[in-house]
């Protein structure tokens, strides 16, 4: 991973303790975030998010499928993350698999809510076409192009942006004569329905280095972490998912403290993302 000398490690630790990090940021400052939408024309929605040197692309494809028999009134969403070996040599072959699955599980936890769908960022019932028969399957594929720490936050932001860029084709349904018939579906290639993204959360990862915690850690800072807590927060300030990474134990009061800091930071992040999305959409229209 990152080869750091003892001096460099001290420098990182000391900087974080003094609230002035190696790149001049304060502990709770994000790197500049840049957003592009519609980067993949073949997908229903896509986005590229750059957070410092971290670079990710998310594409969203919608396909018609059959709803699960246990939940006939809900569509399906699947999140896959791919760590490409172009980002780091460690991701070659099966090396990226562990990180990929860790990221996809964490993102699914953040976006899909509980079993009954409460707190889900993506409203699964909006994906239904004919109850029990036809629904939209949403495939969210993330690709890590370049990794400089804080992949989870970047991917979550990219998913949020990509969802706001997603158009689901309008469908006309012919139910057929008898209720047993498979309904005929006519997919329009001109009319698209916009996706409601008001409930989609953002993820804020707080990385604990020494006695302090920082947001948006770079790869070097991440190599010095003892543990990290990723909190996903929606617009209303409710927590919709939480994952702890890193092995070291944390005092419960520290975790609660981290949650309240994450809540505060996330509201800034949401407004930054909103204005970036608006700017990116305006760019795309030109």
């Amino acid at each position: 991973m990152v080869g750091l000398s003892t001096g460099e490690k001290h420098f990182i630790h000391g900087g974080i303790a003094q609230d002035l990090r190696s790149d001049g940021r304060k502990r709770l400052h994000f790197r500049p975030i840049s957003v592009e939408t519609g980067v993949i024309p073949q997908a229903n929605g896509s986005a590229r998010v750059r957070l410092g040197a971290t670079d990710v692309i998310v594409s969203i494809k919608a396909e018609l499928g059959k709803p699960n028999s246990f939940q006939p009134d809900k569509g399906k969403v699947a999140i896959f993350i791919d760590c490409s070996p172009t980002a780091a040599p460690e991701f070659e072959g099966r090396g990226g698999e562990e990180l990929s699955s860790e990221l996809s599980v964490a993102l699914e936890r953040c976006f899909l809510g509980g079993k009954t769908g409460t707190g889900a960022g993506i409203d699964l019932s909006s994906l239904i076409v004919v109850e029990g028969k036809v629904c939209w399957d949403l495939y969210i594929d993330g690709l890590v192009i370049s990794s400089d720490g804080n992949l989870l936050d970047a991917l979550a932001a990219a998913i949020k942006v990509a969802l706001s860029n997603t158009g689901i084709p309008k469908v006309n349904v012919d139910l057929g004569a008898s209720p047993d018939d498979q309904p005929e579906v006519d997919v329009s290639d001109e009319e698209f329905l916009q996706f409601d993204t008001s409930g989609v959360p953002v993820v804020v990862t707080l990385t604990k280095v020494g006695r302090h915690y920082i947001v948006d850690a770079t790869l070097e800072e991440e190599s010095q972490m003892s543990s990290a807590v990723s909190v996903s927060v929606n617009r209303h300030g409710h927590i919709c998912g939480l994952t702890k990474r890193g092995g070291a134990g944390l005092d419960p009061s520290v975790i609660l403290d981290m949650i309240s800091v994450a809540k505060h930071v996330s509201q800034n992040l949401i407004s930054v993302l909103d204005s970036e999305i608006a700017a990116a959409e305006a760019n795309a229209d030109e």
């Binding site: 599980v105 936890r109 929606n234 702890k244 070291a248 134990g249 005092d251």
Partner: protein, 251 residues
């Protein structure tokens, strides 16, 4: 198999404080749990060490319908392909039997459990005590009856202790499910299937440190607070049961 099961539930004061709240909720949503427990009562915990002879240490845990065996092998020499390391390595694997779930072979849905078990345990083990070597933790879920991962984590830490691996503390783990305003501790599989949200904590009670924490669904901060308090208290009680189980073997 459980002849004289020891039960554990959060402390009386907490129970009493929430009793009043709960009564109000009961008026709105009156339901009882299928196994007759109260919302804040855990299933009887049965734990024994020495389930497998070939392993350095092993444990069997039975929490209601959830039955788990964990074997620990090592510390043994790391694979040749591994780079030199001056701390030990921990390798965790969780598998389900094909007959563990109502529908055959459903257990493969839980691929992330291995890495979650690893994260829950790695903070508790003193890896510096066995450089260049690997400890393997293999968990097998015989029957999945809800709260599988917390049971796996608790059982694995008991097996590690049985194998004589140096640890800072035992790791015990408990989860709660959220139904509307109700918090239900140690949910069964049926309850987990229709929960609004869940929170799982793995902690080292003596050090009062959380090693693993996951949360799904929508939560307010106050609710997280309440759920964490409930879990930590239950973890403490569970750790006492685990400790007495180890003492029994030693005496």
């Amino acid at each position: 198999m459980a002849t004289n099961p020891a039960t554990y539930s959060p402390s009386q004061s907490l129970e009493r404080r929430q009793q009043q709240q709960r009564r109000k909720i009961f008026l709105q949503a009156d339901w009882t749990r299928t196994d007759g427990r109260s919302f804040h009562q855990c299933r009887p915990a049965f734990m024994r060490t020495g389930a497998s002879n070939a392993a350095s240490g092993s444990a069997y845990a039975e929490f209601g319908g959830t039955k788990v065996i964990v074997s620990v092998f090592g510390p043994r020499e790391s694979k040749k392909a591994m780079m030199y390391s001056d701390t030990g390595r921990l390798n965790c694997n969780v598998s389900y039997t094909t007959f563990s779930t109502p529908t055959r072979g459903q257990g493969s849905d839980h691929k992330e459990y291995s890495s979650m078990l690893h994260k829950a345990l790695e903070g508790a083990i003193i890896l510096e005590t066995f450089p260049k070597t690997t400890v393997d933790v293999f968990a097998l879920v015989l029957e999945s009856g809800g709260s599988d991962l917390p049971v796996i984590i608790s059982c694995a830490s008991l097996a590690l202790a049985d194998a004589g691996i140096m640890m800072y503390d035992l790791v015990s783990s408990v989860s709660v499910s959220c139904f509307g305003n109700n918090l239900v501790i140690d949910p069964t599989a049926e309850e987990e299937a229709c929960q609004d949200g869940s929170l799982m904590i793995a902690c080292m009670p003596a050090r009062y440190e959380v090693t693993q924490l996951t949360l799904t669904g929508e939560w307010s901060t106050a609710k997280i607070n309440e759920a964490m308090e409930l879990c930590l208290d239950a973890c403490l009680k569970l750790a006492n049961i685990m400790r007495s189980c180890l003492k029994e073997i030693a005496s």
